[in-house]
Symmetry: C2
């Protein structure tokens, strides 16, 4: 099958082997996929991932042991836990120590015609939510996960650092609470996307020296400078939520963290079902963040486009194909 | 008066000027003072403090606008806030932006015959609490402050890194909760001080490779390696409380913080009244941590002793002196 494969460098392969469905897993056919900054980090060597890229997708279930799944349109929680450890059975399995992670760590991703995923990771997409909207479920869940770290009743002001895709989504999410939200970025045209929303969007150059410190700062810039800026902008006893992963070590001055009693909290994936619920209610519309759309046959160009400074969400569409013989046979 | 003064290097001065009491402040006569690792950091240049050292003391109030304070034996909250800002009026003033800090930042400390402090920072010591015990109120409050950052009902296991004075106190405090506590240090003779308590005390060399990860890690070693060790020992979704301040920047790998969703929380001073309440109830006895006792005339030797590797709490005693003329005149 066709797949965008990473092995040192990313390559579009026409003859990548069909995925093999293991017990408890579904075989899925990608309808539409999104490219994330993490994909770009992976290309730069983060996680030493070798395999098919991509972890944001809307897909159709084409094989499953459970006939109720067949034909369902779904989004997926990217964390494929073992299903048996305490983290998988008592919690969401996001920290299962033997997990694989879709398109990131030990598991082929969604930038292919087909992929597999444990059925417990699937969330059905209601008919009212279009593919273009549902494809944002994974990053929206990550943005919504910020709310799991705070009590919105106790936060007065939040500053989001970074006007990338995730930063913008976090800005929109926080704007749905009673918190006063400022987003600090570098690109006026991206900041303007928040104009209709209850978010003060400022260029870093115009903002930083005049901005009062906030009790919550969300670092979503993915840059090494982001944390230093967050430390400048957070109040004593405030919280910094780190949303982005980079391979590099960062020099952190720890004394201000202690003196000002700052909490620095890492935050990764959220609950995909909650994201789909928000999209189904129409609480938030992420589709203005779509920058471009490529067919899977041009997924390499899509990745290149996503890597350009300033790029918003680049989507990759997979035309509905006749099922391959192996899948039809149910093997 | 006699005072241990820092100006680049620490010097015992016989003719240091008498402190001037400002409105709202009490004049206090030191009975006994403790030397803290922060004092040693100050000598190394931390905070660029210039002035009298020392911030742990039991003292007698010898002058105050409020006659009820005169003659009281007290301990002091080291944070002298402005008394007017929201942090001072709604909270404890520990983060007042114009605060001075006793013996640390902009305010002469307690390693002198006399010092001043705002009256709202004073806490009376009950007669049942001896000086040797009450002198631990400040570091004990800092140790107890760990409990403000956690819900002891939700933490199963805690690892305290560091067998210094603060680490040992934190071990004793956590041992009073239902949490299973392990303290990791470098000195068998210090670890043995916890033998009678509900704390598993291990040498780092024997501990680290066999120790299961814990949901709470308290970094109290003050060493640069401490945080790296804490990151190895904390569970996913766990919390690291940073209790020690150093002048140096530290390289922190941020990706594990995000991937494992760790919270790194700075923690400084606690509530002195709570510490005195614990001491008055006899919940915990810190006096086995006393290593040595020097008169103020040998405070320089006391500082040297405290700086020796392995040293526990070094105390400095100040004999009750006749009040100087200026204090008797109430100027």
């Amino acid at each position: 099958m066709l797949a965008l494969h990473l092995d040192g460098s990313p390559k579009l392969l026409a003859d990548y082997p069909e995925p093999k469905r293991r017990p408890g897993e579904a075989l899925l056919q990608t309808r539409i996929a999104g490219i994330c900054d993490t994909d770009l980090q992976l290309v730069r060597g983060y996680m030493q991932h070798r395999g098919v890229l991509g972890h944001e997708a809307v897909a159709d279930v084409i094989e499953s042991e459970d006939p109720a799944w067949i034909g369902q349109r779904v989004v997926v929680d990217i964390n494929a836990g073992c299903g048996r450890c305490p983290d998988c059975t008592n919690d969401d399995g996001h920290h299962c120590q033997t997990r694989t992670v879709l398109g990131i760590d030990g598991r082929d991703g969604v930038l292919a015609e087909r992929f597999t995923m444990p059925e417990r990771c699937l969330v059905r997409v209601p008919d009212s939510v279009a593919d273009d909207c549902a494809v944002f479920a994974e990053p929206l869940a990550a943005a919504l996960h910020v709310l799991d770290e705070i009590d919105p009743e106790c936060v007065e002001r939040a500053i989001v650092i970074g006007d990338g895709k995730l930063g913008l989504l976090i800005g929109l999410v926080l704007a749905q609470t009673r918190i006063a939200v400022t987003l600090v970025g570098h690109h006026r045209e991206k900041l303007d996307l928040l104009a209709a929303h209850r978010v003060q969007a400022l260029l870093e150059t115009e903002a930083v020296d005049v901005l009062a410190r906030a009790d919550l700062v969300v670092e979503a810039s993915g840059s090494e400078r982001g944390l230093a800026l967050a430390l400048r902008l957070v109040c004593p006893r405030g919280k910094i939520i780190l949303k982005t992963t980079t391979a590099a070590k960062t020099e952190v001055p720890l004394a201000p963290l202690v003196i000002d009693e700052i909490a620095l909290v890492g935050s990764r994936c959220g609950d995909i079902q909650v994201a789909i619920d928000w999209l189904a209610r129409g609480t938030l519309d992420p589709t203005p963040f779509i920058a471009a759309r490529y067919p899977l046959t041009q997924a390499d160009l899509a990745l290149h486009h996503a890597g350009m400074q300033n790029a918003l969400k680049v989507l990759v569409t997979v035309p509905h194909l006749p099922l391959p013989r192996a899948a039809q046979d149910g093997s």
